[in-house]
Amino acid sequence: MRDWDGGKGNRDESLRRLREALSQSKSDLSRSWKIYRRSLLAMLGLFMVISVSLVAIFAEDIAVEHPYRNLQDTEDKWSIDYEPRRADPFSEECDWHEQKITTNPNSPLFSEIVVAESDDKVGDDNRYYRDTLSVIQFIKLEDSLGYDLNLSLLSIDPSNSSLLVLSPELYGNTSLYAGVWVTYEFDNEEMHHWWMPDGYDVCIFGTNDQGHDLFSKVVYGSRVSLKIGITVATLTVIIGTIVGSISGYFGGRVDEVIMRICDIFFAIPGLILAMAFVAAMNQITSLTIPLWLGILFPIFVLAAFSNTYLNSTVPDDDQISEQAMSLIMRYRGVLLALVGFIFFVGWMPGASWPDFFGISESRSWRAFAALGILTFLGAIILADRRFFLNTSFEGGLGRIKDSFDWTNPWRYLTFRTLAVFVSLALLFSFSGSEGEEIVLIKDFDRLWKVQAALIFTGWPGYARLIRGQVLYVKEMTFVEAARSVGARPGRIMFRHILPNAWAPLLVAFTLDIGGTILSASGLSFLGLGADAYTAEWGLMISESRRYFLLSPHLMLYPGLAIAVTVLGFNLLGDGIRDVVDPKNRR
């Protein structure tokens, strides 16, 4: 029987203590918030970071267009020599559509009524993007030689504004059999937006040389940048923490070797190293199975760390009724799920639910699913704390049986279990089978390579930082005290040293998100980052260099976007530094 079936007094006592513990962490947070709030710049930074994140999450709703879609024309209907307009901000030209119309009644393409529509292949996966344009007015009508024709030869179908009607003079006119060019102003349903006042539904930042709406590209670019920034910073922190804490805790020869390797990394300028690394990876199209470990291992270490950290701050004894405990657990799980959802669905460009299970198209789906389920069950068993309590092989089976607690499902909602879910989801989303080997990342595109390169060049800084912190905390008496009661190195590391060493790490992490965004955009600027015409800010600036004097707006907005995002993270990091600074703790 569980505790909550026991006496009422017991339960009240438990709840009271739970409240106490919660108010403790709440007062801790509110004190931090009070310190943080003191700085206007820090508040500004927080505001910037939140707004950029919101823009990234709601990019579809804010952007007026698909970032790669040509506003003015469609690929399959446009003549090849046409050079799309670089429309200025707020100009009307980006609503102009130029279309070739066949006037030969004998041609299979001919139809008396011509549909004005946009039908384009866009995006990473070449999905069709189709919508109907309503014609508002005609701008120009030319024959195939470029001579102007009378605009009255065309009219708009009164019953359907997306249909053009050719006058009889036009069709059947043998001199025009090559076709005519019509330029008309269209009204795009897609460009009406909830946040735009009437009459301003034009491309507010103009279009680029490909006719892509710049505003939409900048908005979508925030996803790419934030994704790169956060993924790279997180993974570098994890790798750096693991390496640095090993180096600091064990010291001696291990430390010496790791630090010399770090020296080598420091000796080569980061950007040049990252460039060379991207170039070295350029022929690699997919990541294969051994790299699973590269993702799984850090996640588990992080999970172990968080688990012990949470345990150390939230008193989790069985005296606190498990009912109440389950509330925390549920809250914890929902929160983490939310974060994971936003991170993996919101910020991953083009990711959607079908992508997560894209593996189902693969032939080895069944085998893989079976493997996945086995892994999952095994991981659940491993995730249970009881299993670790007496790690010996005697009677292991019985203990595994004991470790399943069917009466209380909530106890599985620990961070560790969630980490298992997340890592499995990661595996499912990225893996597929190619030939004999199982591939982790199918489309190992250049953005992935940029991230890999930045992780590769970034971890030594964290390793050094964490090593210093670990060396410092290691000398504190409470570590010796823990050792004197018989605590093992793992416990000392995760429960005593790291929780007291994370403060500078948090600051460095926040600052590093900004730094990573800068480096990634620098790589893209040099042509080693994102693929051509991707909505990536650095690349957009690079592409705008050709029109430097003619259309400076093309580089202005992406640059401002980078500056605002990075500034936001830098200000945020500064604010956090003030909060964790012991001088301000009083």
């Binding site: 403790q24 069985d318 005296q319 007496n390 008496t477 005290a481 009661v485």
Partner: protein
Amino acid sequence: MTEESRDGEVLIEVKGMKKWFPIKGGMLSEVKIHVRAVDGVDLHIKRGETLGIVGESGCGKTTLGRVLLGLIPITDGSVLYDGEDIRTIPDRELRRRMQIVFQDPGGSMNPRMSVRSIVGEPLQVNRLAEGAELTQKVADVLDSVGLKREHMNRFPHEFSGGQKQRLALARALSLDPEFILLDEPTSALDVSVQAQVLNLLEEIQEKHGLTFVFITHALNVVNHISDRVAVMYLGKIVEIANTADLFDKPAHPYTHALMSAIPEPSLEKASRERIVLSGDVPSPADPPSGCRFHTRCPIAEKGLCDVEDPPLETIDFDDHAVACHFPLGPGMRLPVVDDAQTQSGDDDGPATVVL
């Protein structure tokens, strides 16, 4: 009771304990220099007693304690616990039987852990209790050091210095050990709180039948709490005796000097002579030859003291051992030197004793 019947027998025996710390020399020099923190100590601790260890800072008393508990590996010699070498006792077993209370009560507790976690940690890592049982045990042990159950969810910074030391004691007691090493447990506390903690210690020792080793530099505290006292100088024990004997009849000149440094509250005795030792404590990396104390000793004799290391030998009464070629008898005084020589402060010359 078995505990009481075994009272008085030897619990820990230290034989020739040495702890040398290597320090790195220059890059080009091969010869390693060692700091001889503990350099050949023989000692026994009886069950149920309190052994005080006194000495100046840097004399190796803290290191002695750490090695005694097996927290740092011993360089040479052995520590026998209940007749067994501590290196052969499993770590978990050892931790259950021997515990330590640190000097800085605040620093010895992880600021991010609640009292329940701190006090319960020994039970947790040794897998002695879990969940409700753990909470109950923590509550009991908190109760025994005079803290309340409500304190369990607080964090260390919410407690006063004396309360923190109680917490540290509670942590040590949670495993129900036989032996606790108290490493200057009161030196970071206010005098008023010191007395409370000392009384608590005595009370707990009574209740649990504990054996204490009490490391301190404060002689008055030692006088108050110890049954026997060992005096350390430069990694060696120079004198060990029952507390009363040591304070009444100190035999080693260093002990004399220490005794004279105890402030006397009484006005009548204010004129008692105060022995000021000349010079600094020599470096433990390069200890003097012969008797370690001869560089500062007022009665050292050339040719003997600087050549031959005096062994720790029992003198006239039981349990009073001293390591000196010329142990002072009861009532004997050290020779007195005038002020001028004190000022000149010559290291190798005879020690100065100021009236």
